[in-house]
């Protein structure tokens, strides 16, 4: 952090804190998770950027969705995302979360991850190398600075849209069993 950052840090410590201490949920969602170990260990060392893998969603504010998302995994992703405290950021790896990628016509993979949970950023490449992941982290910093990494706000504001999509694909989820589709249920 060079001297230029100090005034910015003093102006809004919350952003400064969020930027340089992104704690990622260590939750292996898809095929891209094989990229995470080299990222966090000696060869590429994500800790330089303040990125640490954390055991539970309660402790994390970054969620890396690595690769395709199957219907069964989407249930766990939604559960984990709900349990993460605000502010939280989601980054999708590769093209599969964007539009289904090469599984575009498969019967059990999700086509648009963005319909179910808000995604702040995408990394191209099937699967992106650690350098690409660090570029994404730096981009996320800039987005946080500009205040446009507001996926969690979108999720809160039009939660009804997200809930309808989630209910459409996973009607049996325990989350929906108790609650009927209310408009603005506080999550």
């Amino acid at each position: 952090m060079d001297r230029a950052d100090i005034p910015k840090a003093l102006k809004s410590p919350a952003n400064w804190g969020q930027k340089y201490s992104l704690w990622a949920v260590y939750f292996c969602t898809g095929c891209g998770v094989i990229e995470i170990p080299p990222v966090i260990t000696s060869r590429w060392d994500a800790e330089r950027f303040g990125v640490l893998p954390m055991a539970t969603p309660r402790q994390a504010n970054l969620f890396l969705v690595t690769g395709y998302v199957s219907v069964k995994t989407l249930g766990a992703i939604i559960r984990t995302y709900d349990q993460m405290p605000d502010p939280k950021y989601v980054v999708g790896f590769g093209s599969c979360p964007v539009n289904g990628g090469m599984y575009w016509d498969s019967y059990n993979t999700i086509k648009h991850l963005d319909k179910y949970i808000p995604v702040d950023g995408w990394i191209a490449g099937c699967m992106p190398r650690p350098e690409a992941i660090f570029v994404a982290v730096v981009h996320l910093w800039q987005m946080i600075d500009k205040g446009i990494a507001t996926g969690y706000k979108r999720y809160k504001e039009d939660y009804e849209y997200y809930e309808r999509n989630q209910r459409e694909v996973l009607p049996h989820l325990a989350k929906f069993e108790s609650a009927e589709p209310t408009a603005a249920r506080d999550i």
Binding site: W16, G17, Y26, E47, A55, T56, R58, P85
Partner: protein
């Protein structure tokens, strides 16, 4: 005089807090360097704590959950005020080593209450592992502490420290080599660092008692952990390394012991609860028993 004493009383926890935050950053830097990587900047813990405190949403499991976290941190702060650091020992006349031993119970009890109230099996398993480990390392540590008290004939930390000021040979480690070695062998267990960090193991039990802690709760738990490290290290320095004439030599010694502790932590794998108990009750306990026997005979 009164104002100076109150200032000192307040100064000690603040010094402890700053040293603890420095230690958190230092340990991550040293571990990174040992693993041939750069590691985060030294002030990374400050960034983490600021992020956690300014979180926009905190999740609590009830009043007991909050009270447990508060008691944890408060217990650690109070204990620091009673441990002489270098020349500063404002509250030592109202609490000797026995009081400090029992005050050290407050913060683990607080964390255990919070973990119990968080209604998660991982937390309960973490607490039971932490208490079993505490039973494990308490046997040799108490034997060593009694050896020091018997050898210097007092239970007051200030007198123990002043008795060691004469010279390097006067140190507790020189007078009671076996007890000092036993306590050093048991230090990683008391600090809760690898190879004895199975109580908060992220892989096995999703970081044990910390599983439901997020936002400001996690910040408080992290600070409490760092303060606990400072407490244990300052006790070790006071008992065996002469406690330092002024605050700087004291902190230097604490830093040295911390550095060795972190190196051990960085290279050793995690042991299981049974292995830990088997180790803690074998060599360190034998050494501490021998040290105590010698101290008792020499005093008698």
């Amino acid at each position: 005089m009164m104002v100076k004493r109150i200032a000192l009383i307040l100064a000690l926890p603040v010094v402890g807090f700053l040293v603890a935050v420095l230690f958190m950053g230092l340990s991550r830097k040293i571990t990174a360097r040992i693993q041939r990587r750069y590691g985060p900047p030294l002030y990374q813990p400050i960034i983490d704590v600021v992020k956690l405190l300014t979180q926009k949403e905190n999740i609590s499991h009830g009043v007991l959950f909050d009270f447990g976290i508060l008691l944890g941190l408060a217990g650690a702060l109070v204990t620091i005020a009673f441990i002489p650091a270098g020349g500063i020992h404002p509250l030592s006349t109202s609490g000797d080593f026995l009081v400090v031993l029992y005050l050290m119970l407050l913060s683990p009890l607080g964390l255990a209450l919070a973990a119990g109230a968080s209604e998660n099996p991982n937390a309960s398993i973490g607490v039971s592992r932490k208490l079993t480990l505490a039973l494990g390392y308490e046997v040799p540590f108490l034997l060593a502490a009694l050896a020091v008290m018997t050898r210097f004939g007092t239970t007051s930390l200030v007198e123990i420290v002043s008795a060691q000021q004469s010279s390097m040979l006067g140190w507790g480690a020189a007078a009671l080599p076996l007890s000092a070695l036993a306590t050093f062998l048991v230090l990683p267990a008391m600090l809760g660092i690898r190879p004895f960090d199975f109580a908060t193991a992220p892989q096995e039990i999703a970081s044990g008692p910390l599983v439901e802690l997020g936002g400001k709760y996690l910040a408080f738990a992290a600070i409490q952990g760092a303060l606990h490290t400072y407490i244990v290290l300052s006790l070790f320095v006071d008992l065996f390394l002469g406690g330092g004439a002024n605050i700087l030599t004291f902190l230097a010694k604490v830093l040295a012991v911390f550095f060795v502790g972190t190196c051990i932590n960085a290279v050793l794998p995690r042991v299981s609860v049974a292995q830990a108990l088997r180790y803690l009750w074998k060599w360190p306990t034998l050494l501490a028993l021998a040290g105590l026997a010698i101290a008792a005979v020499m005093r008698g």
